[in-house]
Amino acid sequence: MENLEVINITKTFSLSKKQQRIEKTKTKLKVAVKELSFTAYPGEIYGLLGPNGAGKTTTLRSIATLIKPDTGEIKVGDASTLKDPNGVRAKIGFLTSELKLEEHFSPNYLFTYFARLHGIVEEKIEERKEILFKKFGIDKFSEVKVGELSTGMKQKTSIAISLVHDPDYVIFDEPTNGLDVLTARSVTDYLEELKNAGKVVIVSTHILSVVEKLCDRVGIIIDGEMKVNDTINKVKSLDETGNLENVFFNLVEEAAQLRGEF
């Protein structure tokens, strides 16, 4: 398996009037991600850490071929998001943040549906379904409508669906957001399993403890810029206390000073 490389991507959005009001800005353009680079390795979990609006979702969507960066390139193994988006799509499992599956359908139905769209043969679908549903405890609820499932079970179903095709590259946007402790734990446990199976795993989060417990490598992204990008231990050692929280707050404060807010 090969690395996933994000090479110097920049993404600018033009803001709607409404957005300008919300973000209290007069500028029409918003640089969501600026010259951002990092590499995620097989058998490791890469954590993209940053406050709200930092550019995490924009980065992950670019990797998932959902949006095109203005400049820069992303290589998922030997496939480039620009030149071979379908090659990339076949390799990645993408979980969008705050995904709400259609409430009317059962996990069973939706799993089969997305598996077919991924072009998986019927016997393989059942095989994968059995494994993943068992793993997440969905098997007992597989015929219950999504709308009637608990928040945790919904998220587990979303995760199972994003992994229908057993992808080598797993990209999860805020996967434990809004989950109870137990469900969050079962999700991070599974991510570790994927890592141990030698896959490339990238998660984004604004929660420090997730990064601390789970990630081998971390990139701290603030205002669209990569401030730090290293192994978790090296990043922690940036502050004499060895505490990730301190490192993070120092960087956030620095950025605020740069913007002239303090």
Partner: protein, 399 residues
């Protein structure tokens, strides 16, 4: 092709496995039309029978006894009041207010003038009624008829003529007097309202499922899950449009059945109205409906793909919905299909005219073909646009 089918099946299943949607999309249109037409039919029926049962309230002055006796002998449902107990202007106002149906004033020398007709002018009878009131108008028609009979009697007396003074008879023995068939009458009746109702129900059918199927994916975030699968964007577009079209066609069929069932009531004939559509007409109607559905679904799909949320989509569709109802209404009072071929190039308006053509049974194949072919062209453009919208990250991931 396989992917189109997968998308199609899922969207289709979404609706038919949802009792609420099955009701609103498939049962409600037919049921609503049936109830509407039935109520309308009953209302018209009630009105007619209440006029027939109504006793005419009539004021009179110097009415000859011969005429009065004639009304009584023929059991005409009328209450005759004398004006001299009352004031002329008061009764006039009562007629305007609908309290009195008619006032008839004979001159006081009426009978002497009739007798001395050789030396005197014709006497003039004055009648007053309210033409905006159904009871009053009908009272006038009734009394006019009886005065006519009375005048015949007088003529007979003058001529000392035999019983039958009519110089000729009309249609005493002519079974074909009323040409035109019940079928034609029913068809005309249908052509007044049906095109608008069809457009309305096609639209509302598509409106109740389209936004959720497309804008809903954006709102829920499932669009990302869909777009990271390696299927073509055009397959998503076609799959969704086809399934939405089939479902909307069901709601059109439902309205159609509702109309056929209730037409009997509207036409006031007991039992069945004979509408004999030919197989060709059925096929053409189906094709026109299907083409119309495709255009409507194409429009709704594009708006839904553009909107950020289901609510926004529904809001944006509203003006189009009202416009299409207005187009449908244009047919309501004309009942004649346009013969101008250019009309058959205008989406929706072409549908209305084509539907009228088929309903009244005056099909012009050339214009229907223009309508069908132009619809196919529009739908292709709309599907292409939808496909482009699915590819447009600015639209799909709008903030």
């Amino acid at each position: 092709m396989k992917n189109i089918l997968t998308i199609f099946k899922k969207e289709f299943y979404r609706v038919i496995s949802d009792r609420r949607l099955v009701f609103t999309v498939m049962l409600l249109p037919g049921l609503a039309i049936f109830m509407m037409y039935s109520l309308l039919g009953n209302a018209i029926g009630n009105q007619i029978s209440s006029i027939q049962e109504h006793r005419i309230i009539m004021y009179q002055e110097y009415m000859p006894t011969a005429f009065k006796d004639m009304l009584i002998a023929n059991e005409v449902k009328v209450d005759i009041m004398d004006l001299n107990d009352s004031d002329f202007d008061v009764v006039k106002q009562q007629i305007i207010d609908g309290e009195v149906d008619i006032m008839i004033i004979f001159p006081n020398d009426f009978e002497s003038k009739i007798l001395d007709y050789a030396t005197q002018d014709n006497p003039e009878i004055l009648t007053y009624y309210n033409f905006t009131e159904d009871y009053s108008s009908s009272a006038y028609n009734t009394m006019y008829g009886w005065l006519d009979v009375y005048s015949d009697e007088i003529v007979k007396a003058r001529l000392d003529a035999p019983e039958d003074i009519n110089p000729f008879d009309m249609d005493l023995d002519n079974p074909y007097h009323r040409l035109g068939t019940e079928d034609e009458a029913s068809r005309k009746g249908m052509a007044d309202l049906l095109p608008m109702l069809i457009i309305m129900f096609l639209f509302s059918g598509a409106m109740s499922i389209g936004p959720d199927s497309i804008a809903g994916e954006k709102e829920r975030g499932t669009i990302a899950t869909l777009l990271v699968t390696p299927i073509k964007r055009s397959e998503i577009a076609i799959g969704k449009v086809l399934s939405l079209s089939l479902l909307s066609l069901f709601s059109a069929t439902s309205s159609f059945i509702g109309i056929i069932l209730s037409l009997g009531k509207l036409m006031q004939s007991e039992g069945n109205v004979s509408i004999a559509f030919t197989t060709n007409e059925y096929i053409l109607l189906f094709l026109v409906l299907f083409a119309t559905v495709l255009v409507i679904v194409g429009l709704i799909s594009n708006i839904s793909a553009y909107a950020k949320t289901v609510k926004e989509a529904s809001m944006l569709i509203m003006p189009l919905y009202f416009a299409s109802i207005a187009i449908g209404m244009m047919s309501m009072f004309g009942g004649e299909p346009s013969t101008n071929p250019v009309v058959y190039l205008i989406p929706l308006y072409s549908s209305v005219n084509a539907i009228i053509q088929i309903l009244v049974g005056s099909v012009s194949m050339a214009t229907i073909l223009v309508m069908l072919i132009s619809s196919v062209v529009y739908v292709s453009i709309l599907i292409y646009m939808l496909n482009r919208l699915f590819q447009n990250e600015k639209v799909m991931f709008k903030k």
